[in-house]
Amino acid sequence: MTQAQADATMTNGTDATLPFLDVRNLVKEFPVTRGAVLQRRVGSVHAVSGVSFQVMPGETFGLVGESGCGKTTTGRMIVALERPTSGAILIDGDNIVAMSPRQTRRRRRDAQMMFQDPYASLDPRMRVLTILREPMAIQRMGTRREQYARALELLNDVGLSRNALERYPHEFSGGQRQRIGLARALAVNPRLVVADEPVSALDVSIRSQILNLMNRLQQKYGLTYVIISHDLSVVKYMSDRIGVMYLGKLVEIGSGEELYSNPAHPYTEALVSAIPIPDPEVERHKAYRTPLGELPSAVHPPSGCRFRTRCPRAQPVCVESEPLLRSFGPKHVAACHFPLRPPREETVA
């Protein structure tokens, strides 16, 4: 057993009844500046505005939404690539937002990221061995010999042959590069992997190879996943629960099946109906419930409910007050004043 593996066994004693990832009231605002020299702050982009969710150990949580909804920013904050404006991110009980940079670096070991673009996310001048070894070296894990052994093991895990070690990223296809990206994410034995659009850049015939591989490795290493994608079909295939984001807010959380057949939020319903299904019978009898118009600006988001400007059910109250998440069944919450079906009880989830 390598040192790296020994590390993994030791740290994997997570309590299965407590969330492994606990995101609390997360806010991220990016400044909008004007002027080349003075950079006066003239406003903010409200990228993420009070997002809370929990992910249990070994669970796969999906985050879906359209571009600009804040899903990627949320993911980047979880792996500490972006610092929240406010809020807390607890990984295995420790708030990474409150940590010193030094502690953050150590914590990075637990939460790694798999990126969307396998062409941009691998350094073209590094051999695969260097790519896989770099995170281990940064985390000071094992000797060079052990790192080499771990790199071989990772290649085997992701289904690449050992002679890949001496090759450069450009020698691989998109799917193979994404395998390398996954191997790199797993190099330091993380317990949480945030995968941002893991298959969007890949061809249809290659996607299922990567998705199935991710599922197998989750089983093997007991990983917790956060999968971010605009593609609800992909997220539903992978996830136990899904959070639907709209303009910086989580509007609904539930299982893929619940969101598909029993959505409570009109935005979820619209999103579901907009996704084309590869079956002409289903498609031709489908009532599209496309939201009206386009996404409002995240610099000046609408007051009250953020979806109200595109919502067919909007009433004056939606302008005045922001809807809170209410329960619609076990593990199912949504934030809407006029949901598609009545909430279960009058409690705030």
Binding site: Y237, I277, P278, P280, E281
Partner: protein, 326 residues
């Protein structure tokens, strides 16, 4: 219905320094007036090169080496560059994936939409602007008259694509080529744009070549489908037939490999092993043989020919799904 487009035996090659990519390797297609033909396949299968061959806008080194392309009965192959310029825009409209690459960032939307009219038609500036506003209204651009003076960066992705569609349609072409028209857009906007293309096709009685990698888009929007793999048509049929009785093992594998929103997540998706073949190298007899679950010695030895097995249903497979002992 008469055919707007008839492609017969098209071969388009791209010469590189040391090799030749046989991007399109013997493709025949036809599109009737008012019909949408979906052309589906993975990147590099030759679907975009087929489209670019129609309008003869090939990349450096690219040339049509064989075949005929008839638009409303007239062969486009012998036409000069000058004559082709009249075909593009006037007879064939084009919509590509990324609206920003089709739009000139330094020109107002109004000028760009009216440009084709001014080049092709004998209309003055005032009338061109008037008709541009009319077309922008037709494609669902809110407040079209105000938009005429806007620059592309002032519009959202969905509105830019509407502007591109307006440019493509301003001369009322008989054929619209839409190459991944919604791939760069969000799903809710995708549905709006596809609805728009659908209704315009009906209104203007255009033939439409809808190129996409998305089987879902094909299922909802195409009348007929041609599945392309490694430079050739693998299967072609009316849309319902294709999805209900797909025969080619590539079509079958592709559909099984797609996660479906309306399916339970429990069952594992089929993983198609390997990669599509390199089009610069010698092709195996059947191009899908290396990735096929059902391949036999025959598939290595003899090329399957694209044959019309049932009326309108063509496929090139030695061991088709759902036929005899598979």
């Amino acid at each position: 219905m008469p055919n707007v487009l008839e492609i017969d035996g098209l071969k388009t090659h791209i010469r590189l320094t040391r090799s030749t990519v046989r991007a399109v390797d013997g493709v025949s297609l036809h599109i009737a007036e008012g019909e949408t033909l979906g052309l589906v396949g993975e990147s590099g299968c030759g679907k975009s090169m087929t489209a670019m061959s129609i309008i003869k806008l090939l990349p450096p080194g690219g040339s049509i080496v064989h075949g005929t392309i008839k638009l409303n009965g007239r062969d486009l192959i012998p036409l000069t560059d000058r004559e082709m310029r009249k075909v593009r825009g006037l007879e064939v409209g084009m919509v590509f994936q990324d609206p920003m690459t089709s739009l000139n960032p330094t020109m107002t939307i109004g000028r760009q939409v009216a440009e084709a009219l001014r080049i092709h038609g004998e209309v003055g500036d005032a009338e061109a602007a008037e008709r541009a506003a009319g077309v922008l209204d037709l494609v669902g651009m809110p407040r079209p008259r105000e938009r005429l003076a806007d620059y592309p960066h002032q519009l959202s992705g969905g509105l830019r694509q509407r502007a591109v569609i307006a440019m493509a349609l301003v001369c009322r072409p008989k054929l619209l080529i839409a190459d991944e028209p919604t791939t760069a857009l969000d799903v809710t906007i995708q549905a709006q744009i596809l609805d728009l293309l659908d209704s315009l096709r009906g209104e203007l009685k255009m033939g439409m070549l809808l190129i996409t990698h998305d089987m879902g888009v094909i299922a909802g929007r195409a009348d007929r489908v041609a599945v392309m793999y490694a430079g050739k048509i693998a299967e072609e049929a009316e849309t319902t037939t294709l999805f209900q009785r797909m025969r080619h093992r590539y079509t079958e594998a592709l559909v099984e490999a797609i996660p479906r929103l309306d399916h339970a997540a429990e069952r594992e998706l089929y993983s198609i092993p390997g990669l599509p073949p390199d089009l610069t190298t010698e092709m195996p007899a059947c191009r899908f043989v290396a990735r096929c679950r059902h391949a036999t010695v025959l598939c290595h030895a003899e090329e399957p020919i694209l044959i019309e097995h049932e009326p309108g249903h063509l496929y090139a497979c030695h061991h088709p799904a759902g036929v005899g002992v598979a």
